[in-house]
């Protein structure tokens, strides 16, 4: 994973999104340990505070949990985990619609462009 300092999107938000993507694609599983704040900060070359902020927010959202001073883990709450994928997809669709809606593009043109550019899954 990489982090982009120049994007409008704050680094800690990028980090959170990255973890959500990992969860949505099941690359991170319930109960699995995630890197410590310091480790993550080293890996991504960001400040430990920024890592801490991302983790704190994820904890508030119930995505991870922390017991005492052991490394944080992915939640085992399947309801929350399952919602992550839908949340990401929903947000992507919604902001796409919000952007494309006011321009009056025919649906077929939209779908055509998506098909053309989309390479997430070849089928």
């Amino acid at each position: 994973m990489n982090v982009n300092l120049n994007k409008r999107e704050p680094v800690y938000v990028q980090v959170i999104r990255h973890f959500k993507e990992q969860i949505a694609t099941r690359n991170l599983n319930p109960g699995q340990e995630i890197p410590s704040r310091r480790e993550l900060a080293n890996q991504l070359k960001i400040n430990p505070n920024t890592a801490q902020r991302a983790y704190k927010e994820m904890e508030e959202q119930g995505l991870i949990y922390t017991e005492g001073n052991s490394p944080s883990k992915i939640t085992k709450d399947e309801k929350i985990l399952g919602a992550v994928r839908e949340e990401l997809i929903g947000q992507a669709i919604d902001s796409f619609i919000a952007a494309i809606g006011p321009i009056d593009v025919p649906l077929d043109e939209v779908v055509g462009l998506i098909r053309e550019k989309y390479r997430g899954d070849k089928e």
Copy 2:
């Protein structure tokens, strides 16, 4: 039009985008007058400086032009006007792909969701 003060997107960018949408859908036509800075500021309840900034940027992009003390007008340069629509669509598609790509959603599911939610053009 409304403006959202709390979005990450700056107000002046929202204003610009709004004008671009009007241009893309041909609600604003070449040579047509647009509101004065002060009028716009009053309508949208924004700071006149913000209106000024939006207009300045649009002028730099060649979208509008100002002659002396008369109200600004939409450019008559068809090349620029034509590009606006594609620019908006391109941006929308690109950021959608960037958001949905990492989640491994099958293309058909994506298209299905778009079809379902998209109501820009009834067909």
Copy 3:
């Protein structure tokens, strides 16, 4: 107001509690502006980051709101405001009960001690 660095309770939590007390006693009213992050930091001799953190949390709790870049204000949501007093009282009572409960102190002794030490309101 003062802030105590040596307490177990984090500074930013103390700040939040202070604002809640002000709200509960109606010293801060709906819509009223509160000091900017920098101002508060200067007043309390704390770091602006700490002030920012307190404000961010208060905003998440709906206690204050921020529009664009103008100073934050106390929410006008009377439901939230009304709940603050009860929340503070409830927490105080609950943690008191949790502490005193396991020691089997007769209710009359408890009440007697409270009456003796309590000087919030003479009556």
Copy 4:
């Protein structure tokens, strides 16, 4: 007894408080044996170091004593034992007053709430 890893109150302090409550209510009597460090750690599922720390602190406070390799025992010093109850009560009252004081709650309301919620002793 249970221990909460996520409370602000450190685990070893929770353990100590638990023993003090047992002493205050005379569930633990002078000279009575208490579990070994290892036993306690197993029962509470805590780290043996944590159990050790709790016992060490209790020993320093004179609450327990250890002779050679035999299990630690509750002190026989009645002066110390008697003070435990008052200490716990005093702390509970003080922090309650500190929390409720700034909110200007009439004394009668406070007492009413306490009476209502307090079920340490039915009467």
